[in-house]
């Protein structure tokens, strides 16, 4: 005969409940994460760890953006995006690229204001970064909220300069492409 005492009933039921809960929790992670892995697809909050999977392609060109401000004292200064939008962290980079490509206007169900813009444009193709000035206005206001109007670093305008690195070689990094400018 076993000398082990039988656990009280509520202990057994607690144990059974926990096992069931943990089984479901594990399954809740296992199934979506396996799907994301197999499909190599991110569908928030399900993540596929496809960070930098392709690495850098020297043969491809790369477009990038530099945020700058024109101060009331006439200086042009670089403004790190994280200083005007710290919650976004490195996502600022992806956000600007998406706005430059007019991604939010390509949604199957765009924001009503974007839908209106698309209707107005009709068959005429929209210019790149049609919403970029809205972003620049927001960033300019954020920056100026920390630099008083009397300060020489207060901005009179903010701009985003787009450059291209054509690739193929490790030089010629700064080919100017275009600029978006917003008066503040």
């Amino acid at each position: 005969m076993s000398a082990r005492a039988t656990p009280p009933l509520n202990q057994t039921s607690i144990s059974r409940q926990l096992r069931r809960k943990y089984f479901l929790l594990t399954l809740g992670f296992l199934l979506p994460l396996t799907w994301a892995f197999v499909r190599t697809r991110n569908l928030y909050p399900v993540a596929s760890w496809n960070v930098m999977t392709q690495g850098g392609q020297l043969q491809q060109s790369c477009t990038y953006f530099v945020l700058r401000g024109e101060t009331v004292s006439g200086e042009v200064i670089d403004i790190p995006a994280i200083s005007v939008s710290n919650a976004m962290r490195s996502r600022n980079w992806g956000m600007v690229a998406a706005i430059a490509r007019n991604e939010s206007l390509k949604l199957p169900s765009p924001h009503p204001k974007n839908a209106e813009l698309l209707t107005k444009a009709g068959a005429t193709p929209l210019p790149e970064g049609v919403r970029m000035n809205d972003l620049l206005k927001a960033w300019g206001e954020s920056y100026n909220s920390r630099h008083a109007a009397s300060s020489p670093t207060h901005l009179k305008a903010i701009r985003l300069d787009a450059y291209q690195w054509p690739g193929h070689e490790y030089s010629n990094f700064r080919l100017f492409v275009q600029s978006w400018r917003q008066e503040l």
Binding site: G56, L67, I82, S90, R91, M95, I99, A138
Partner: protein, 307 residues
């Protein structure tokens, strides 16, 4: 090794899970407190690209959220819920509301067209904590009412699950790299090009220029990439073989810090989440012993003086 894992599964204590609740919820609390929600409220709602679950919310909701009142309300809700979670008060509710609110907030940040992976593991950990008895120690709840006795695996399994999720993030990342790029991932131009493209703008976390040195040493960068790939593949060993953790996690810390200087971003949340590999039972025992020995020394000194 496997039997060692099973022993740890049943030897984890309520305190170990309690400490993890404090650190994981605390990490988000600190980050939310430091984030400017006013700046976030200024961002144009017309640039949003709702992703995944976030697509379920109507545009009218986002219009109301992207206002100073909407964003301050979100911040207050996050701070309130995460503070309760850290303190371990009303934990069955506060850990769940924290997980839900953080899930929403992080989803919102990813609605601007960039799905980054840094915070993902920490979000998953919050979900694990929301369904675990993580307030049976190190909490106001456990101080107010003695929690019901639970089997040891109640505390060990959530920790094992969190370790497995962390290991999966690295292991699957290596497999995807091999599947997508094959051995061309190790090409000499991969890292220099990648690092330079992340260093040209001023939209990243930092603006270091070390990447421009890489082309000069490009023939060694393949070795660096291979080393990282192997490290990602062996990361799961850290779950089963405790002694390997110093090497695997140590390499991870170096790797993520190097990404800051070369790629101008850092997976800071992922780094903090390495705490799930610390044997908190032993750490707490060591602290108790230390406190006990300090108290003994103080008593001894007092006795010596009085005599």
């Amino acid at each position: 090794m496997a039997s060692g894992t099973l022993v740890r599964l049943t030897s984890a204590t309520p305190s170990a899970l309690g400490v993890l609740r404090v650190i994981i919820s605390g990490t988000f609390l600190v980050s939310v407190l430091g984030a400017s929600f006013y700046d976030l409220a200024r961002l144009p709602v017309t640039t949003l690209l709702p992703t995944g679950l976030m697509k379920l919310l109507p545009w009218r909701f986002y219009d109301r959220l992207f206002t100073p009142v909407g964003m301050v309300s979100l911040k207050l809700a996050l701070v309130f819920s995460l503070s309760l979670s850290v303190a371990g008060f009303l934990t069955p509710v506060s850990t769940r509301t924290s997980a839900l609110l953080v899930l929403f907030y992080q989803g919102l940040l990813r609605c601007f067209g960039h799905f980054n992976h840094d915070e993902m593991i920490s979000i998953y950990f919050l979900i694990v904590l929301a369904f675990s008895p993580c307030a049976d120690a190190f909490s106001i709840d456990s101080f107010l009412k003695t929690p019901a006795r639970k089997p040891k695996f109640a505390y060990g399994y959530p920790i094992l699950l969190m370790q497995s999720l962390m290991a999966w993030s690295y292991f699957s990342s290596a497999l995807i790299k091999l599947r997508v790029s094959g051995l061309s991932y190790l090409s000499v131009d991969n890292l220099p090009t990648l690092a330079i493209t992340q260093s040209l703008d001023n939209l990243h976390d930092a603006h270091f220029q070390l990447a421009f040195w890489l082309p000069a040493v490009r023939h060694y960068t393949s070795f660096m990439l291979a080393l990282v790939l192997v490290w990602e593949l062996v990361f799961p060993v850290a779950i089963f073989w405790k002694r390997s953790r110093w090497v695997i996690l140590g390499f991870g810390i170096i790797f993520h810090v190097v990404t800051l200087f070369l790629l101008n971003f850092i997976f800071s949340y992922q780094l903090v989440m390495y705490v799930v590999f610390i044997d908190w039972r032993r750490v707490l025992m060591w602290f108790r012993k230390l406190r006990l020995s300090q108290a003994t020394t103080a008593n001894w000194n007092r006795l010596s003086v009085s005599s």
